[in-house]
């Protein structure tokens, strides 16, 4: 599945700062959750976003979708700068950009039937659709994501975590968007269910030509699913490359350490890995520097 080369999403110099204000006239400062992040996502491509907790992964996801608009920078979606859209225009744009959230237990309205939840996408963006038409469309979506349509009248608490995530995915694809931000969509699920949901996401990508921004801390899943991967560290991208290039030849010390922290499913090898890690204590990683293309499509932050 090779992705074509034009970007559907183009993020430039995106920053998100939170003011830290001293409450009695102290000097105001800011917390830089995300600083000067740029990347493109091509049509039909999955870009992985990895990094430790607090590195700004979710902040980027929510800034790109304008759920939590960025402090600075541009997010061009199909040539339109989302940051400059009026709230009303942005609401219309949401038909083309969808989000799948991390916790399918929290992302569903407990007092709305799951059929109504999925149907809401049509109510908002396809006012011309009649009631029967919406029901049929919801039934079709339920089947597409592997749920029985007769469950549409049920409420979220009657479903398992995997089923709920399918419901969320059904709503996300209802309007045939071109771009989906998947913010840790499998982190709250059992391992066996994770595989099903990831495969569903892949099938939908092939079918609908979707682009994904796949946010995850599960490095192996990211390699399996993503065409390219961006490594985030302290709110900045430190390395961005094709998946295989990044995993086989990590250049930035943080990437190396991140990949080195993945446990090996072999007790002997794992013990050796942990022993080696303890033998050589981690040296501090220097901050700063610019992204430099060290190999075709392989960008690494390098101190100038």
């Amino acid at each position: 599945m090779r992705a074509p080369d034009y970007p559907i999403v183009s993020v430039r110099n995106l920053s998100k700062h939170y003011p830290l204000r001293s409450w009695w006239g102290g000097k105001a400062s800011v917390f830089r959750a995300v600083e000067d992040v740029s990347f493109d996502i091509r049509a039909g491509e999955t870009l992985g976003l990895v990094g430790e907790s607090g590195s700004g992964k979710s902040t980027i996801g929510r800034a790109v979708t304008m759920l939590n608009p960025p402090t600075a920078g541009t997010v061009a979606f199909e040539g339109t700068d989302l940051a400059k859209l009026s709230p009303r225009a942005m609401r219309g744009m949401r038909a083309r950009i969808q989000t799948v959230f991390q916790d399918p237990y929290a992302a569903l309205n407990p007092r709305m039937s799951v059929g109504d939840y999925v149907s809401e996408a049509f109510k908002l963006h396809r006012p011309e659709m009649g009631r029967a038409e919406r029901r049929a469309a919801v039934a079709g979506l339920f089947e597409r994501v592997g749920l029985e349509p007769r469950f549409a009248g049920r409420f979220p608490h009657q479903f398992s975590g995997g089923q709920r995530q399918r419901i969320c995915i059904a709503r996300a694809i209802a309007l045939k968007p071109s771009f989906i931000v998947a913010d840790e969509p499998i982190a709250a699920l059992d391992v066996s269910i994770q595989a099903q949901v990831v495969n569903l996401l892949q099938d939908l990508q092939a079918e609908l030509g979707l682009s994904y921004l796949f946010i995850s801390h599960d490095l192996r899943m990211v390699r399996y699913l993503c065409h390219r991967v961006a490594v985030l560290w302290r709110g900045r991208i430190v390395e961005l490359a094709e998946s295989d290039a990044l995993y086989d030849d990590p250049r930035h010390p943080y990437t190396q350490r991140l990949l080195g922290a993945v446990p090996v499913p072999d007790p002997a090898a794992e013990r050796a890995r942990l022993a080696a890690e303890q033998a050589r204590p981690a040296s501090p990683i220097a901050e700063g520097g610019d992204l430099v293309e060290v190999a075709p499509g392989h960008w690494v932050v390098t101190r100038s």
């Binding site: 991390q102 029901r135 009248g153």
Partner: protein
């Protein structure tokens, strides 16, 4: 994990046979049925519901239940002890106490329901706006509410009723206005709690405008808390109406109200204690009924609670 591949797709449940045909989606017994089951499982809630329904029926069909006109005087029954002719006895001008209790339910329940309806219809929108809009709107509404909350409920009701003039309608308005601030506060707190949930962000992400998020996504999730508070406030409003009537600010003579009956009865406690006992017992029963029902609702309306 690296061996994981498309075979996992075989784990997907097979698509049902409905295929391309139009599929009808039956409505399953959803939240209402489960709620009713949970309410019935609680004896105190059922008792409360029975008391409330009984009192409401009594007030609605007062004309058929009461043995006498509640304002008709009978010189032979002045301060008469309970007897077959007057089961609850007679009052200071010979009116039948049972008839006055039955008709008095109208004033008490009416005051409870109308004043709380007023409080909710004012407090809920204000709280919704304050909680969801935030900013200076929130600040303005909440400072006003705080100012009202600083005055004790009954004192405020008495002051408002005195200002509006003594009548049952004015007493209802006074009680309703005094209870409004509670609902503003409660609604605002509930809205803020629900608005922080991820499904509200999910609602934004699919393109819901703010008014639709507030009404379709947040409101249904705070209704249970409001309903419970409303039921409990009805009990407080019944007491408030009785207090206002006791002070002469509510129901005006000769029309009956439990509070007004107590007001007169206090002068005859040693000669005709039944004049005080029956209205007192009625107030007690009504307040108990609404409180039990409110507690039962609180438990039964939690969607995560199991039966």
């Amino acid at each position: 994990m690296s061996g994981m591949d498309r075979d996992a797709a075989a784990l997907l449940p097979p698509p049902s046979v409905a295929g391309g045909r139009a599929v009808t989606l039956p409505r399953e017994p959803g939240m209402l049925g489960a709620f009713w089951r949970r309410l019935r499982a609680r004896r105190s809630a059922v008792v409360g519901l029975a008391i409330v329904v009984g009192l409401v029926l009594m007030a609605a069909f007062a004309g058929w239940i009461a043995p006498y006109d509640p304002t008709a005087t009978d010189w032979g029954a002045v301060r008469a002890a309970p007897s077959l002719a007057h089961p609850f006895g007679g009052d200071e001008v010979g009116r039948d106490v049972l008839a006055r209790i039955v008709y008095g339910a109208r004033a008490s329940l009416g005051a409870g329901l109308v004043s709380v309806a007023l409080a909710v219809s004012l407090g809920l929108p204000l709280g919704l706006v304050a909680g969801y809009a935030g900013g200076w709107v929130d600040g303005a509404i909440m400072r006003l509410t705080d100012a009202l909350l600083a005055i004790p409920f009954l004192i405020l009701a008495i002051a408002l009723a005195a200002f509006l003039g003594p009548s049952l309608t004015n007493a209802m308005v006074a009680i309703g206005l005094s209870a409004t601030s509670t609902f503003v506060r409660l609604t605002r707190a509930q809205v803020q709690a629900v608005a922080a949930e991820e499904f509200v962000e999910a609602a934004r992400s699919v393109g819901n405008p703010p008014w639709r998020i507030a009404l379709v996504h947040i409101l249904p999730n705070i209704v249970p808390a409001i309903l419970v508070q409303a039921t409990l406030t009805i009990a407080a409003a019944i007491i408030a109406e009785a207090s206002l009537s006791f002070l002469g600010l509510g129901q005006q003579p000769p029309e009956p109200s439990w509070g007004a009956m107590l007001n007169v009865a206090k002068n005859f406690l040693d000669q005709a204690p039944w004049m005080a006992i029956w209205p007192g017992l009625s107030i007690f029963l009504a307040v108990l009924g609404f409180n039990l029902l409110g507690d039962g609702l609180r438990d039964a309306l939690d969607p995560r609670a199991r039966t």
